[in-house]
Symmetry: C2
Subunit: 385 residues, 2 copies
């Protein structure tokens, strides 16, 4: 396995956007190509993360992207793992370069979903669940994550106010992110007064449905050094699964796939949770961020809420979580989400994150979950100079 | 890059089947596990090829499969490249093992589509086209492949009778394949009398819509040798693309992605087209088989029809093409198709193909196309003892 570096990253703004999926995909990819300082012709292939292409009736986005980039002969394969599609796509691009199959690979993700109403969108999202056991019986993701929240509250005493504080923190960060879908500050009171969507989760505990695209280009060490871009290295990649149906798992306060993928990534990187300077984690609902920070070993089980309350995970805290604003406030264009996490990490490690910059980070982690944890991808990246 | 062997292969019957996609996927995978002589727990991860999961509202089949196999912690990522999804999934499983990420990997593909009528199914298939330019304007795949057939006829004098002979040959082979969707012999007259679906292509020039699943397990050389299963090696893997929209390409008598992917696979294997003993190629329509055999260098451009007419590609000919019956008569359960091609090659190379056995083959090729060639995957496998 060869060393792999991130050459460049790009992203569109997330939100309700007046562009098609193929346009967004091309825009983020061209952004990443520009950031990498390469010509598109150097890209040897791509993975495209996209979960709901059927909404636009475009089920084969790879060749559309490569044609738009002027490199139609290069292969592009769609990767899906529900909401972890982006992280899974990044992993396979990393593996292709690490294996020596290619020197330069693109991972690009997109979603275009805001043209359908939120009930329809919630229905499409539920295809990521075990639909026979869950979605088809009315258990869509707000309900499933609410079940996890309830279990966490009962076992550990986590409070609705602590969940609200996750939302407040991530909105604070998003307010400094020009690409965020919901760049507005909110208060704990705003969250507490918002309508319950699935008790104990309220509207402001949930991420929005977003359009958007993000893209990352990875390269071998030799290519990265030649281009003077060997500044962010991929140190670890973890990928695991869990029993698809949440009710069929023993414990609903933790996601096994996240624990396993996290351990894999830490082991490969030769690092521990204490070595991480900040992380972008999968906060599709506020409870998901607490569970993530516990599953990854940042906090003991049940202590994520307290850590948030104490400001540990704030941008100026000991361990900033989701300085981008996270899925909660930056937005969640499904296929783009995991790649947007990588892009944020790259920009933060380079010191290019503008007003939301975390002070001088060296090592960062991304955590991308599909469904209630049927899939999880964890990556650790390090600034090398 | 390490050497990679196929440990085992499995498949359900193809056809209109009374099982769900998840059941078919598990059945083929268990079949492959049994054939490999391993325990499911040895599998370190999977790629699942599946293009139309939205029909069953199951968009995240990986965890369903791994849960069914009793290994829910292992990662499973969905791979799509329209009708080349299976070949693309096999390639990434191969790369994961070649890279040393894993020693044993599963690639499993499935489609469950016969519950919708053929007009609806044709519509879903057209999502694999450039829908904005093609499908959305009424250019579904019968029409697009008919355009290719017309161009081939005009340039090379290929005849409707030659196309019909492809169908007759593949039905002859399928009649000896207990897993085929359409295991019945037909005549050139049957084809010529069948209704035009898109002139010059008739109903019998087209493959059916099939349900079904196929699965392949690959492993490192060390594992394969330890299990006494180092008998079929993956010698070459090619993967390329073409401009998505057929009308935007200069030449409609050839698929650039197939030529490029073929060259890549031959180069990696250190072989030439003349070294191939038989091939499974992507004959979604009869014209596609002719174009495939020319793109891969088996015959000169325009000579595929004549070769078929002369019996060169028959099961007892100099270069058997689609001894399984091909997509045309064995069937085309999209996600399963490319993996079913690999399974057929494995069984043929081992001498386990029963009545349709090709005499003592040593080297074989698979060719799996997505859409009209937006994606193509080519693999070369060799019997090693």
């Amino acid at each position: 396995m060869r060393k792999v570096y991130v050459l460049g990253a790009g992203a569109t703004k997330y939100g309700k956007l007046p562009l098609t999926g193929r346009e967004l995909l091309a825009q983020a990819s061209l952004d990443a190509i520009h950031d990498a300082g390469i010509d598109a012709s150097h890209i040897e292939g791509a993975f495209v993360a996209n979960a709901f292409g059927m909404i636009e009736k475009q089920g084969h986005p790879g060749p559309l992207l490569m044609t738009a980039l002027g490199i139609p002969d290069k292969p592009a394969t769609t990767i899906e793992a529900a909401c972890a599609s982006g992280g899974a796509a990044f992993r396979e691009a990393y593996i292709n370069v690490a294996a020596g199959v290619a020197d330069v690979y693109l991972a690009s993700g997109v979603e275009k979903i805001t043209q359908v109403d939120t009930v329809t969108a919630t229905g499409y999202f539920s295809y990521g669940s075990d639909y026979f056991c869950e979605g088809g019986n009315g258990a869509s993701f707000p309900g499933l994550y609410a079940t996890m929240a309830r279990a966490h509250m009962q076992r550990y005493g986590t409070t609705e106010e602590q969940l609200a504080q996750v939302a407040v923190k991530n909105h604070d960060n998003a307010a400094l992110n020009p690409k965020a879908h919901l760049p507005k500050r909110i208060t704990v009171e705003d969250v507490m007064k918002s309508l319950y969507v699935a008790h104990p989760l309220k509207l402001y505990d949930a991420c929005p449905f977003s359009d958007g695209a993000s893209a990352v280009i990875v390269a071998s060490e030799e290519v990265a050094r030649r281009l003077g871009k060997a500044d962010v290295q991929v140190l670890g990649s973890g990928r695991a699964g869990s029993i698809a149906s949440l009710p069929d798992r023993g414990d609903m306060t933790s996601i096994p796939a996240a624990r396993i993928a996290g351990k894999q990534a830490f082991q490969q990187a030769g690092l521990n949770p204490g070595d991480i300077d900040f992380a972008e984690v999968h906060d599709c609902f506020t409870i998901a961020e607490l569970v993530a920070t516990e599953d990854l070993g940042f906090f003991k089980p049940g202590e994520g809420g307290k850590a948030t309350e104490q400001g540990v995970t704030a941008r100026d805290g000991a361990l900033p979580i989701n300085p981008s604003g996270g899925l909660k406030a930056k937005g969640h264009p499904v296929g783009a989400t995991g790649l947007g996490q990588i892009a944020e990490v790259v920009w933060q490690l380079r010191g290019q994150a503008g007003q939301r910059q975390v002070p001088d980070p060296e090592v960062a982690l991304t955590h991308n979950v599909g469904a209630t944890g049927g899939s999880c991808a964890v990556h650790i990246l390090r600034r090398m100079r």
